[in-house]
């Protein structure tokens, strides 16, 4: 009997309505942008998808002025119930155009279509829904009877969840009455510019949302612009530190969501098969391009062998390849630079003596791909246990007692997320108390919901996104 080879089941790229060029969105219009245009690639094929106009310093200034004008004249004066209706419209338009957005996201980012289709885009819509509901209820947010918006928010987002991170930033900002200048990541600007079209379709007043594509220098213009009241940044800890330094001593309010090196702690009484799923989801979801990825597996010594055997079998069933194929589990690494970084760190793991196991799944000849890899025998001192790899590479360490698990889990300058696997409820809650992380998942991993705040301790940043707590980032209490 022949093997069960799933025939290719690709989503059509025509659905993305890809255009040859995209332009910045400022003051309600698409404008040429006087920065050097950038070319955005399909990381799965290394082909150019489109040319994208970028914002120069002058364009950023125009965008901030447009945002200021919209803030003063329209948005901050509008009753919350009316703001809410615009945000509900945006939520609905994202739902209506979800398939187009999902295909475009997978083309531009390299993530599997099943993730963009089932997670990124619906969760982005959910964020707008959730925050639309807050717009006329801010007096119930626990920040005092009449919380006021901050003004113009400058927002800079990463390439790992382009549309979702946009939603995390823009939805709360608009709900609380702020206006926005947002810079999408250099390698993934396309869905943000389709989102700009959605703002037009929603008849959002001009200037409330401005999208300014560009590289780090564009981001710096936003951060340093004197008329920006708030900076929200998601990205690397390295850049986060630069931003914090830049706004230090100014009146700008700042929230940072930075890197992580999450511990996923598996006790010997865990529901093992589901723990394996959680480990796989924790590190291979979105090619491991997740700041809260469960990149350090801490397994109790009494169960590590059984766990590793199950884990390797499960990882060997992951399907790597064309991001547009509905059966692809692991898509492309977002850029050549990122791929090089992952390779370099994986090599350091081998050099430092960890045992490398890599899935034998076929890897396409073109495009940026990295086969899922598990390092066992990893020690706290190795680079792959300390540095954020941001790729499909898992480091497996062991522990003997709960105290040792806590000590190892907390032994990092980061503190974004953590996972706990045990059937014992009291141990979950005790561990959750001990772990220095902004999000703790028990018997699950990588769960996101607009109603649940997300953010980190220590060098993983400060401020929370989502939930009632997330509104604090955009309001004067």
């Amino acid at each position: 009997m022949p093997a069960f080879d799933y025939a290719p089941a690709p989503e059509s790229r025509d659905i993305a309505n890809l255009k040859p060029s995209y332009r910045p969105f400022i003051g309600g219009e698409f404008v040429p942008g006087s920065g050097e245009p950038l070319k955005t690639l399909n990381p799965a094929t290394e082909e150019v998808l489109a040319e994208v106009g970028t914002a120069s310093a002058a364009d950023v200034d125009t965008a901030v002025q447009a945002a200021r004008k919209a803030y003063e004249r329209t948005w901050s004066k509008m009753p919350g119930a009316e703001r809410a209706k615009y945000i509900f419209r945006i939520a609905r338009l994202i739902q209506e155009r979800s398939r187009e957005l999902a295909v475009l996201e997978s083309l531009d980012n390299g993530k599997p279509i099943k993730e963009s289709r089932d997670a990124d885009v619906p969760t982005a819509a959910a964020h707008f829904f959730y925050h639309a509901g807050w717009a006329d209820k801010l007096d119930y947010a626990g920040l005092g009877p009449d919380p006021r918006p901050l003004g113009v928010a400058g927002q800079i987002i990463p390439w790992n969840f382009p549309l979702l991170m946009l939603a995390w930033k823009i939805a709360p900002a608009l709900a609380t009455g702020n206006t926005v200048v947002l810079k999408p990541a250099e390698t993934t600007p396309l869905t943000a510019l389709v989102f700009a079209e959605i703002c037009q379709q929603a008849e959002l007043p001009p200037g409330v949302v401005n999208i300014v594509p560009g590289a780090g220098d564009t981001g710096a213009e936003i951060v340093n612009h004197p008329d920006v009241d708030k900076i929200a940044f998601t990205g690397s800890t390295e850049v986060g530190k630069l931003i914090q330094r830049s706004v230090a001593g100014t009146r700008k309010k700042l929230t940072l969501e930075l890197g992580g090196k999450a511990a996923n702690v598996v006790f010997d009484d865990a529901p093992l098969d589901q723990a394996v799923e959680g480990i796989v989801n924790g590190i291979f979801y979105n090619q491991g391009h997740v700041c809260c990825a469960g990149s350090r597996l801490l397994a109790q010594e009494s169960v590590v062998d059984e766990l590793l055997a199950k884990l390797r079998y499960r990882v060997s069933t992951l399907r790597l390849g064309d991001p547009l194929d509905k059966n692809t589990d692991i898509g492309a690494i977002n850029s050549a630079e990122q791929l090089a970084k992952i390779r370099e760190l994986a090599e350091s793991g081998e050099a430092e003596g960890a045992q490398r196991w890599t899935s034998s799944c076929p890897v396409p000849d073109r495009g940026f791909f990295f086969a899922p890899t598990v390092f066992s025998g990893v020690q706290q001192s190795m680079r792959i246990a300390r540095e954020e790899i941001f790729g499909p590479v898992l480091s497996v360490l062991t522990f003997r007692t709960p105290d040792e698990a806590v000590a190892k889990a907390n032994n990092t300058p980061y503190g974004l997320s953590a996972g706990i696997w045990t059937e014992k409820g009291s141990r979950i809650l005790w561990m959750a108390n001990q772990l220095r992380a902004g999000v703790v998942w028990a018997n699950t991993f990588n769960r996101f919901d607009p109603a649940a705040p997300f953010g980190g301790y220590q060098e993983s940043g400060f401020g929370r996104e989502g939930g009632r707590t997330g509104l604090e980032a955009y309001l004067h209490g």
Partner: protein
Amino acid sequence: MADRVSVAKTYKLYIGGKFPRSESGRVYPVHDAKGRFLANAAHSSRKDVRDAVAAARKAFAGWSGATAYNRGQVLYRVAEMLEGRREQFVAEVAASENIPARKAQSAVDAAIDRWVWYAGWTDKIATVLGAANPVAGPYFSFTVPEPTGVVGILAPQRSALLGLVSVLAPVLAAGNTAVVVSSADRPLPAITLSEVLATADLPGGVVNMLTGRAAELGSWLAAHADVNALDPTGAEPAERGELARQAADTVKRVLAVPEEEPDWSQRPDLGRLRTYLEPKTVWHPLGV
């Protein structure tokens, strides 16, 4: 050319997602404020109340068990459908309440916005009204509000749509199911609202709409042992004491309502939501 003869609508009840006639087989004429005949409304009986409560109970598990996000989406969809029927509601409210079209328009607009306000509450109730309790001991203790169950609503007699929406939406947003007795003399917007609910993804039985006399049906609702809470707004002030006494036999939650029908255009507080919620406190030990 002669004027076209319009096709008149038969106004029926809304029970369990269907539009039956009253079990009683009776109707009563509805007139506008000038005494002109508008329609025959179904005259609901105690057996209609019985059927409606059964339908509401059957729907409770699904509606209360749906995610707050899902409930919010469904309720927001209702607002979209209300907007689509705006002109019809304006005409019915104007005729029912004997107010000029412009005033009716603003009442309808306020009703739609009120619905949106409550739609946005579904996934915020727990975060605003729930709590993590800092108990003295190695326990994690938290409190979450849960829907109380089947709510009987005697809808306002005067404000046929805005009043109705203001009393119904909080019941649904909190995750309860409802049996509503509409305004007796102004029932048409309530029936049209049921048609909106029936086409807006709201599961059958979550709202059951009866037209008839609150004075006649109220005590059947108040005394029904499978009803968990009662909103007596539409009852005559003199009847409310008796309703409350009947409700006491099964320890129903009875909403405290003002003597006179309030000005529904005022923004509501959380009173109605809170009445239909049961805070539940959970304790769990912490330890290795």
